[in-house]
Symmetry: C2
Subunit: 386 residues, 2 copies
């Protein structure tokens, strides 16, 4: 059995460790510290920095292939590993588009993939000219943003000017995008292997609050089959054009006219795929490992045809010990599956998620309600929080 | 979050480690060597002997509660831990009945639980008198047997005499039982917590070949609901009477007249419950941890109402490297879930299992066929082996 290494010790690596156990693959983690989420549960942990070529190369030398829990390994480290013959999956040529949103927009546009209108901007005047009188405009950091960080919705030229000034003082490059008045957000999650096999999960609806994913509904309720297939094809096509190996999550806007626009890309297990742990034949974490190891991909079908699965993220509240709440939530609804990441609780931090998988007779509204109540209770000690 | 320790480093501990990750519980293993199945995937491994009070007590001192991957910890060790205040779950008073089959039979009979006729035997004459002309008779080692070891079906007095002689020379005590001409074997798996909550999984059919479990079908096809409920009540009643904490698996004979007789008991995750990893809302491993930690129990309902899940054990064949077969099986049937235990391959050894979970439209015959093909291919390199 091959050895797979994951760079990064967060919750995605932790859940990948779980999947590696049943696959029988040996799994190693390069974590920043021994107390990181994945390091707490993995036997083979190396402690080091993902920014250091020496650390990453030393780690990779013990693995048959390496993959990533995040997109923050510098391109220079990635290409250096590749030129020394290490299997880096996905490779640097693909990962580039998750590290540089301007390059991503330019590449997708050149491929004919529908995207919001965009332009690089380096001054307040650039933003005004991009807006040409139509506000709001979205400003994004070209690299480094996540969970709503690095994204600013500006409703006026003066707001934009202050974002530009602040970005300039921090050396952050910006990109302007049209503000899309979307109906809802969707995500298409697919996997692609070196043997060029592809597998597409059902398209899901994602609910974000202040840029943070709070809820995922699989499959997206009421999405016409033709649109779902379009989203899956789009994701498979992007993966093929960019030579992505492993998972590719494509975050999409469903526009008010029912069309699709690509918002973001991620080339790793993704929050929009956590539902697969309890609702699909093959979890996204197992699927990512299969793809990275060039094993045949598993079935991405829902466990229960005709049923919905709802995921709700558990965010940290103001209390550091929530064990009593954990017991309460389990007692209140024995079908709620709680997944904890072993992280210290901080306000607003993702510390876990709940999944609830239903059969054909469970309404999506009742599943959402149950998932929300559990997540709210874990956060605030009341079922009616946010 | 509490710390749970499991004594024993086999595949049951390995799969429990997987469940502990998502529960957020810290999981420790006491393994006989660092290369044991669970030790390969667990961060907190102690190496020591389950027969040594010092080793087990040293391990238990690092845990909030301890539980077991097998039933071979000596009673003297268990009671000594208990008297020093350690939470031993299940406790020695319950585990006694998994270590001493004669005590188990006597206890169950005193509770009115239907069992095969039995008697302790210490000579060939005892067996002849027990048989009183009606053969075959089953002889069992009072303690230490598993997977068909320690069980002898004797079709004549002379066969019984040689088993008695061999047992005597090894210091093994024997028990005689009537040979039950059963229709099939069933298993009822339940969990019971210190708070006295109980949860019963659907009753399954188990298929044994030469004493080794080869296949499990969940739920048992065509079992009348009244018989299934009787089996579940029987198991819950036994757990309550014996004060079992954690899982209790009750192996049953469905007799030719449709009645139930108790064959064996196990107080730990059990081979007949491996299907729950892919076919039930809560896996047996998570359920065992919940019970041991006195958390509310999870739903034991099938993931997909109206669907069957089939498990087939993967036994070792004659080849030590089966990676090519692994790839073949995944490619041939993307819905087959392969679970490997990280064990060296030896002929006849349980090295993993496959699960295949179906929806209401999948026939149990086709699911069994697919599971068997996968297990056979992994063992022999052909789909038509055994």
């Amino acid at each position: 059995m091959p050895i797979v290494g994951m760079v990064g010790g967060g919750q995605l690596a932790r859940m990948t460790a779980q999947a590696a156990i049943e696959l029988g693959a040996t799994f190693r983690v390069l974590a920043g510290s021994p107390s990181e989420s994945a390091a707490l549960v993995t036997r083979d942990v190396s402690v080091g920095s993902h920014l250091s070529l020496a650390d990453v190369a030393g780690f990779a030398a013990q693995c048959d292939a390496i993959t990533f829990d995040h997109e923050h390994v510098p391109a220079s480290v990635l290409t250096s590993l590749e030129s020394s013959g290490i299997l880096v999956r996905p490779g640097s040529a693909a990962l580039r588009y998750t590290q540089d949103k301007l390059a991503m927009r330019e590449k997708l546009s050149s491929l004919g993939v529908p995207c919001p209108r965009f332009a690089p901007v380096s001054s307040a005047a650039d933003v005004e000219s991009f807006a040409s009188g139509s506000w709001p405009v979205v400003l994004k950091a070209v690299s480094g943003g996540y969970d709503g960080k690095g994204v600013w919705v500006c409703s006026s030229a003066s707001e934009a000017a202050s974002v530009v000034a602040a970005a300039e003082s921090h050396g952050i490059s910006l990109l302007a995008e049209e503000f899309v008045p979307f109906r809802r957000e969707l995500a298409a999650l697919i996997a692609r292997s070196p043997s060029r096999q592809g597998a597409a999960y059902p398209v899901v609806e994602t609910v974000q609050v202040e840029g943070i994913c709070r809820e995922v509904i699989a499959p997206a309720p009421g999405l016409p089959a033709s649109v779902a297939e379009e989203a899956q094809s789009l994701a498979l096509g992007i993966a093929s054009s960019l030579d992505v190996i492993g998972l590719l999550a494509v975050e999409l806007f469903e526009t008010s006219s029912g069309g699709l626009l690509v918002n973001e890309l991620a080339m790793r297990p993704h929050n929009s795929g956590h539902w697969t742990m309890d609702g699909a034949c093959t979890s996204q974490f197992e699927q990512h490992l299969r793809a990275v190891l060039d094993l045949p991909l598993g079935s991405p079908a829902p466990s229960c045809p005709g049923g919905y699965t709802v995921m709700a993220n558990i965010l940290g509240g103001t209390d550091s010990d929530i064990y009593d709440r954990y017991i309460h939530v389990m007692a209140a609804d024995p079908a709620v599956k709680v997944h904890f990441y072993g992280k210290e609780i901080r306000l607003g931090r993702k510390i876990g998620h709940v999944n609830i998988a239903g059969g054909p007779s469970d309404s999506v509204e009742s599943l959402r309600d149950r998932a929300r109540r559990a997540a709210s209770y874990l956060r605030w000690g009341t079922e009616d929080g946010d």
